[in-house]
């Protein structure tokens, strides 16, 4: 008698969307020893059966632009990324990684990280132990507790800092220094770096350009030659200022891509109604460069951009209200006095029109995570005004004054917001869906749930692409662009990174403040909706709304 096959896990009875873009089909997915052992009608038994009736079974999502470098050291799931179905993250973007880094340079790099991540200082002093200097050491520190997979980039700024010290933020490199950077990059790639990141825009906490911005082209070219030895990725943050500069960068990346036979990616590429042809022109240039044989992948995020502000600091949000601008740019003491002055206040309110500011401010949301009283958090100013029995403009001023001006408001969907325009761009075969910035800008906005938003907004609501296409965009296509072997598809022999989700419900939750950073630091998060189960390398890492204690994540390069 034939023995029944025994698997570790069988995901049974779902619609298999295998990541290739092919139509979903009814079937099972069986897992053994961390790999997919069978796909289709699977007979046999398993130690664990995951019921996927009415659900989609897809490869785990891959997030190619994150800053989880620090968080991963104490939270190997990169929460809440994993619960959204993300099974692999790429940290080390924008020229910054935590290795290679000499002990004496830690302080400088922590400053740069805080600038983009907005993490409390405790995150760097109490939450983990610095045990490494080189990239291999960072990799081992990471691998102690991963439940998500990690494909880490190495940052150009830290490579430069290692070789040049303080001169890395002063001048171009000498030929011997460039040679030393090449050797160091080679060592990082051998130790598992998925590529190199560089930035043409970022600043450190003192407002100085980060080290990578002092590099001349010869230096970048020399580093790309090393990437070419491994066929690895160059990631770039381009100038956001003007389309013409973006196009010049695309051309430069294309030349590097062709000369060294490497993939390159730039992020972010935004759509903005203020410069309506920006993304369109950039994508047209990308098409031309691909036709030449270059690989230059623009990364575009799914989520719209919100503006947030409080009356603590001047904000351009009020730039259409001259009187408000004049009052809010005064020093704090005069500002508070003016806001308290009945005469000034009356004039400010008159500027808002006869509805008391309802049209202009009513849809603003009190974000929380600051001095805002809890009963108002998450409510619109219109609702708050109703509760307080006063017009919206007055509610904005008084609620701020009552709480030391430390009340942040959010104006949703102020950039990259047009689903009709962005849908076709996301569906474009040369546009790489990414640029979430996961783990960055913690105190400003949530960088989680962009994959849920892809399905809720662009698949279900707008029909900009099929569900199968959307899955392919964030699984097999990402794995292929980045050269991640055996990831991104549900096929026999592939690594068993799997997400089971409800196609009618998958979405991102509301943006809420959370106090789960070291030192009770605050960040904004979004919970997942519609995601049932997430497997990483064959082990259940998230199920029924809870994280398991699995530690099956690896550095997957």
């Amino acid at each position: 008698m034939r023995e029944m096959a025994m698997f570790d896990v069988i995901v049974r009875g779902g619609t298999v969307v295998d990541g290739t873009g092919a139509p979903g089909f009814a079937g099972d997915v069986a897992v053994k020893d961390g790999r997919i052992a069978a796909v289709g009608q699977v007979s046999g038994e398993a130690k664990r059966v995951v019921d996927a009736q009415g659900r989609v079974v897809a490869p785990g999502f891959i997030d190619p632009h994150t800053h989880f470098d620090v968080q991963l050291l104490w939270d190997g799931a990169a929460r809440p990324a994993l619960e959204h179905g993300v099974t692999c993250v790429v940290p080390g973007n924008c020229s910054l990684s935590l290795a290679p880094l000499k002990a004496s340079d830690r302080k400088a790099v922590v400053g740069m990280f805080q600038q983009i991540e907005e993490m409390p200082p405790e995150a760097f002093t109490t939450a983990f132990e610095w045990t490494w200097e080189d990239f291999a050491g960072y990799r081992s520190a990471l691998e102690k507790g991963l439940s998500i997979n990690v494909a880490p980039l190495v940052g150009h700024s830290v490579i430069r800092l290692w070789v040049m010290g303080p001169a890395s933020q002063e001048r171009a490199a000498f030929p011997d220094e460039i040679a030393a950077m090449q050797a160091l990059l080679r060592e990082c790639l051998e130790a598992g770096a998925v590529g190199l990141s560089t930035s043409f825009v970022d600043l450190d906490e003192h407002g100085r350009p980060v080290p990578s911005r002092y590099a001349q082209f010869e230096e970048l070219d020399a580093l790309c030659a090393v990437l070419g030895e491994f066929g690895r990725m160059l990631q770039v943050v381009p100038e956001f200022y003007a389309t013409d500069i973006t196009i010049a960068r695309i051309d430069q990346l294309a030349d590097l891509s062709i000369r060294h036979d490497i993939p390159t990616t730039f992020s972010p590429l935004f759509d903005t109604l203020a410069v309506p042809d920006n993304a369109e022109r950039a994508i047209a240039r990308v098409e031309e460069q691909f036709a030449r044989g270059a690989r230059v992948w623009p990364q575009m995020q799914t989520r719209p951009i919100d503006i947030s502000f409080s009356l603590l600091r001047p904000s351009l949000f009020f730039a259409r209200l001259p009187r408000w601008v004049r009052i809010l740019r005064q020093p704090l003491e005069q500002r508070v006095a003016a806001l308290n002055d009945p005469d000034t206040r009356a004039k400010m309110l008159a500027d808002l029109g006869s509805d008391g500011g309802e049209a202009m401010f009513g849809r603003l949301v009190a974000r929380g995570g600051d001095a805002c009283p809890p009963e108002y958090v998450g409510k619109t100013l219109s609702e708050i005004a109703g509760l307080r029995g006063q017009p919206a403009g007055l509610a904005l001023i008084e609620l701020s004054l009552e709480n030391g001006l430390d009340v942040a408001f959010l104006s949703a969907g102020q950039g990259h917001q047009s689903t009709d325009r962005i849908g076709p761009m996301l569906a474009h075969p040369l546009v790489h869906i990414g640029a979430s910035d996961g783990g960055a800008h913690l105190a400003s906005f949530s960088t989680y749930g962009d994959t849920g938003y892809l399905f809720s907004e662009f698949v279900r609501k707008a029909g900009a692409m099929s569900l199968e296409k959307a899955v392919a965009k964030i699984t097999s296509e990402t794995a292929d662009i980045w050269g991640l072997k055996d990831r991104g598809r549900l096929a026999t022999g592939q690594c068993a990174d799997i997400v089971v989700f409800d196609p009618d419900a998958i979405a991102r939750g509301d943006e809420l403040p959370a106090f789960d950073m070291p030192g009770d630091g605050m960040r904004y998060v979004r919970a997942a909706r519609g995601v049932d189960t997430v497997l990483v390398n064959g082990e259940v890492a998230y199920a029924a709304g809870a994280y398991t204690d699995s530690r099956s994540g690896v550095v997957c390069v």
Partner: protein, 74 residues
């Protein structure tokens, strides 16, 4: 040329957009001496400083101002 100043780019439009870091940013449209027009995106700090340098309380106050005002005042 005598004492004539060189021609320079002038601001002919301004708008507020959402920056990638969640702040409000300023897009100004520049009219160059050769007649071409280009948008330039300024982060919130730079935008606020430009408004101050131009003595502007509103976006319209920026119109007609020299692009050179973007430079920090000595």
């Amino acid at each position: 040329m005598g004492e004539d100043a060189l021609e320079e780019a002038v601001i002919v439009g301004a708008d507020i957009v959402a920056g990638h870091d969640g702040t409000a940013e300023l897009v100004v449209r520049l009219l160059h001496p050769d007649g071409s027009e280009h948008p330039v995106l300024l982060d919130e700090d730079t935008g606020l400083k430009l408004m101050e340098a131009c003595g502007a309380s509103g976006l319209e106050d920026l119109y007609g101002q020299s692009w050179r005002r973007i430079l920090p005042q000595a």
